[in-house]
């Protein structure tokens, strides 16, 4: 089955059930149940996929939801994106609301308003958002800049720079007893620099942490802490050096 849209003309709907392909275009709704490949850029108000979808090009969707796997080889833009399963974007991703249960990987930059993820987030370049809530692991090969960051660690997360206003990193709930003895069950975060106004960390390894009020919780290993107002350190944390600075 092949369905093609006409750019600029009246928008129809694309519906693919079973196996199918399309050459893209502008649509009102794109609905995929089964397995579909779209060869070319696609623009739609609503994108819905149950199963597998691959867009060989860019995708612009007013709202997109997917149960299953979804892959966009170029950039993706959307109002709200909801995925249960896996989503891969080859280039830049920008969206207002993102909610993922499963995995999201972005090959370029990512910018978003509110992001909620249970599972994994991989971003290859810089990443900026207003709110980020993650339960799971996060990997950003650049700067993660967000007004509010809330990470509950499961697995090992890695960031180059983590910056924003309120940064909260908590360990996930590991195995109640064994977790103490088997390393890695609680999750961890490794970063080069963490900077923000209020910073609360657990199970974090970082060379430099700078902030107004800094709380270093259990399981942390920090090279240098620079704080302005307040600094608290858990007895199970190691901080090589700390200094109060007057900003």
């Amino acid at each position: 089955m092949v369905a093609n849209g006409n750019l600029g003309g009246s928008r129809g709907n694309m519906k693919i059930t079973g196996n199918g392909s399309s050459n893209g275009g502008a649509f009102q709704h794109i609905k995929i149940m089964g397995d579909a490949v779209i060869n070319g850029d696609a623009d739609c108000e609503l994108f819905k996929c149950m199963g597998n979808a691959k867009v060989n090009g860019s995708l612009h969707a007013g709202s997109a939801s997917c149960n299953g796997t979804m892959k966009v080889t170029d950039r993706m833009r959307g109002g709200s994106i909801k995925v249960q399963g896996e989503m891969k974007v080859g280039n830049e991703l920008s969206a207002e609301n993102v909610s993922i249960t499963g995995e999201l990987s972005v090959g370029g930059r990512m910018s978003a308003g509110k992001v909620k993820i249970s599972g994994e987030l991989h971003v290859n370049e810089d990443c900026q958002m207003e709110e980020l809530h993650i339960k799971g692991m996060v990997e950003v090969n650049g700067m993660l800049n967000a007004e509010q960051v809330d990470i509950k660690l499961y697995g090992s997360s890695r960031l180059r720079e983590l910056v924003g206003s309120h940064i909260l990193v908590k360990k996930g709930i590991g195995l109640p007893f064994l977790g103490k003895f088997i390393q890695g069950t609680e999750g961890s975060l490794t970063a080069e620099t963490i900077e923000g106004d209020t910073i609360v960390l657990e199970n974090t390894k970082a060379s430099v942490v700078r902030g107004r009020s800094v709380t270093i919780g259990s399981g942390c290993r920090i090279g240098l802490v620079e704080y302005q107002d307040e600094f608290k350190q858990d007895s199970e944390a190691s901080v090589m050096q700390s200094a109060q600075i007057n900003l």
Binding site: N145, V163, G164, E195, D197
Partner: protein
Amino acid sequence: MNEEDLISKKELLELTGISYGQLYRWKRKNLIPEAWFVRRSSFTGQETFFPKDKILQRIERIKNMKDGLSLDELADVFSPSSHVESLSTQTLIKRNIVTSFAIELFEEEFGRQETLSFNDILTVYLLQKLLQSGEITREEGKMLVTVMRENYGALAAKPCELVLIRKMGVPLLFLAESAEQIYFDKDVKWIFRLSLAASIEELKLKLNNTEA
């Protein structure tokens, strides 16, 4: 760029009294361009530096304006492109953005215009500003509109400067995409060099203000 022209992030926050949260919020909103974050390695790993004069001036302006305008409106003021696509010449005169005198001079070169695009509004605005300050003559004003019309399109959204020099009474007007250092022989007199980005900011404030 010289070492002295850079300021470290820590010094910047100390000097301006803003917090990390504010700095990064403004970066997210593109009030501070990505290119100004200069990374250098130091003994603690990597440090971020900024071009001193530019960042201090920008932060001062953000601090002054942020009470009146939302961050998104501010972002628009600082961005080189505009949401104002075009305006009619009548509206421009009525809203006191440019004078009818400047528009007449512009029309002498290009014929009567009903509406002006943002680039043309900018041209007329510059023309008026420079004529009023007495820095250019009418003839040079005509040069200005031609230079802007022919070249500004290609430079759009890039930081550039408008420069006027005179040698033995012969004016030479040009747009420079980067004119950090230029040297002329001693007979050449610099009349002015004007950063277009600053003028765009002024113009946008005027356009936005009268809209509200």
